[in-house]
């Protein structure tokens, strides 16, 4: 489990002139460190937002994620909760996340998009998707 894993975080959103990101984002993260039930993960961000993401994912009765996406135009920080579903090696989760801050172009970003993902419990890699609307 401690082995480093490839990760992907994909942000498939559309940037509008009015400062709106409205669309689907997908990301893949790889494990950096395990802290008990908390996984520290990072990986590249692709799509409209191109950059890197780093965050913590607490795996409990409820999954709690906090992460920061760094782009050339600024950073976006958010915190989300999700309910895990299913059993097996690949465990899905669904919930929402709320932006808690930003910098640069995204200094005033706000929104509460959906949060979805799949965790590989064997390797601790995680794929995260967000869908919804963010304004900045």
């Amino acid at each position: 489990m401690l082995a480093t894993v490839g990760a992907m975080l994909t942000i498939g959103a559309t940037a509008h002139a009015a400062g709106v990101l409205d669309g689907k984002a997908t990301a893949r993260l790889h494990l950096v460190q395990v802290e008990g039930s908390e996984l520290n993960e990072e990986g590249p961000v692709s799509g409209v937002l191109t950059g890197t993401a780093r965050g913590e994912l607490h795996l409990g009765a409820i999954f709690i994620a906090s992460f920061t996406i760094h782009t050339r135009s600024g950073s976006i920080t958010g915190r989300g909760t999700a309910i895990p579903h299913g059993t097996g090696r690949y465990q899905s989760f669904a919930g929402s996340f709320t932006t808690t801050g930003g910098s640069g172009r995204y200094a005033h970003i706000s929104g509460r998009p959906g949060l979805y993902g799949v965790l590989d419990r064997r390797t601790d890699s995680v794929v995260i998707q967000t869908t919804g609307r963010l304004t900045y």
Partner: protein, 265 residues
């Protein structure tokens, strides 16, 4: 969350107890004194930042007759994700467990083992029996992660009981495994059989999972509960909350010291 009982258990357990009492079908005494619960937890090997087995012992102390339980919640630190690692990579359904016992479930659904002790109160005395316990990952239940506690008493009663539990959020710093304990009837007009102790080891050292590698089935020990690199102040907090059919409640808390974990590094 719901409780279930296999098709055989209560009847066999009841009949066995009746036989053991040589047909002394006396009614239990009336009033019950306030019950108490004790808890002891050990982390083995308990090295910070490393996988560990979690050994939980719960003892319910009551003046006779022992009152039956209705609920039992095991509180554990949210830093220890009982299902965040590889424990319970597969699930076993209730029907599979009822039909074939733990052996009839996928090996990769085993999460722990232990023992459970039950008592049946009669006016002439109390019969006590200890059974083997297996903790099995069950299918998702009402949106929650489900663990099945399966108790098997092979001698002399040959009874089996399966309790369903779910993982729930709890007030910080805990999460909880919440069990609903079904009534375990003994003989007509006698009190139900009471669960008086529970010993659970999650992620025991002997646990073996299997995976296919290059066309071969390979055994391995799953990475289960991992301790964080830093201990919380005061240690890792655990607790137990017990509810009784008669309405009484009891709880206990204990902390596993950080010093013990550090010394083993």
């Amino acid at each position: 969350m719901r409780a279930m009982r296999t098709g055989r258990p209560a009847g066999r357990l009841a009949r066995g107890l009746v036989v053991a009492l040589s047909l002394c079908a006396c009614l239990p005494a009336g009033a019950q004194a306030a019950p108490a619960v004790r808890m002891h937890v050990a982390l083995e090997p308990g090295r910070l930042g490393r996988p560990t087995a979690v050994d939980i012992d719960i003892q319910i102390a009551t003046p006779p007759p022992p009152p039956p339980l209705s609920t039992l919640a095991i509180l554990y630190p949210s830093q220890l994700g009982f299902t965040s690692g590889e424990l319970g990579l597969e699930a076993c359904s209730q029907s599979e467990l009822e039909a074939g016992g733990p052996a009839g479930c996928p090996a990769n659904s085993r999460m722990g083992d232990g023992s459970a002790r039950a008592q049946a109160p009669f006016a002439s005395g109390t019969i006590s029996e200890t059974g083997r316990l297996a903790v099995i990952r069950g299918p998702e239940l009402a949106g929650h992660t489900q663990l099945l506690f399966y108790v098997e008493n092979s001698r002399p009663l040959n009874a089996q009981l399966a309790f369903s539990s779910v993982l729930l959020a709890a007030s910080a710093p805990y999460e909880q495994i919440q069990l609903a304990v079904p009534p375990i009837p003994s003989i007509p007009e006698a009190s139900d059989i009471a669960l008086v102790s529970l010993h659970v080891t999650l992620d025991p050292s002997g646990l073996r999972y299997y995976e296919m590698s290059h066309g071969r089935r390979v055994a391995y020990h799953p990475t289960g509960v991992i301790l964080p690199h830093r201990c919380p102040r005061g240690g890792f907090p655990f607790g137990v909350q017990v509810g009784f059919v008669a309405g009484a409640r009891a709880e206990a808390r204990t902390d596993v010291p950080c010093a013990a974990a550090r010394r083993r590094r």
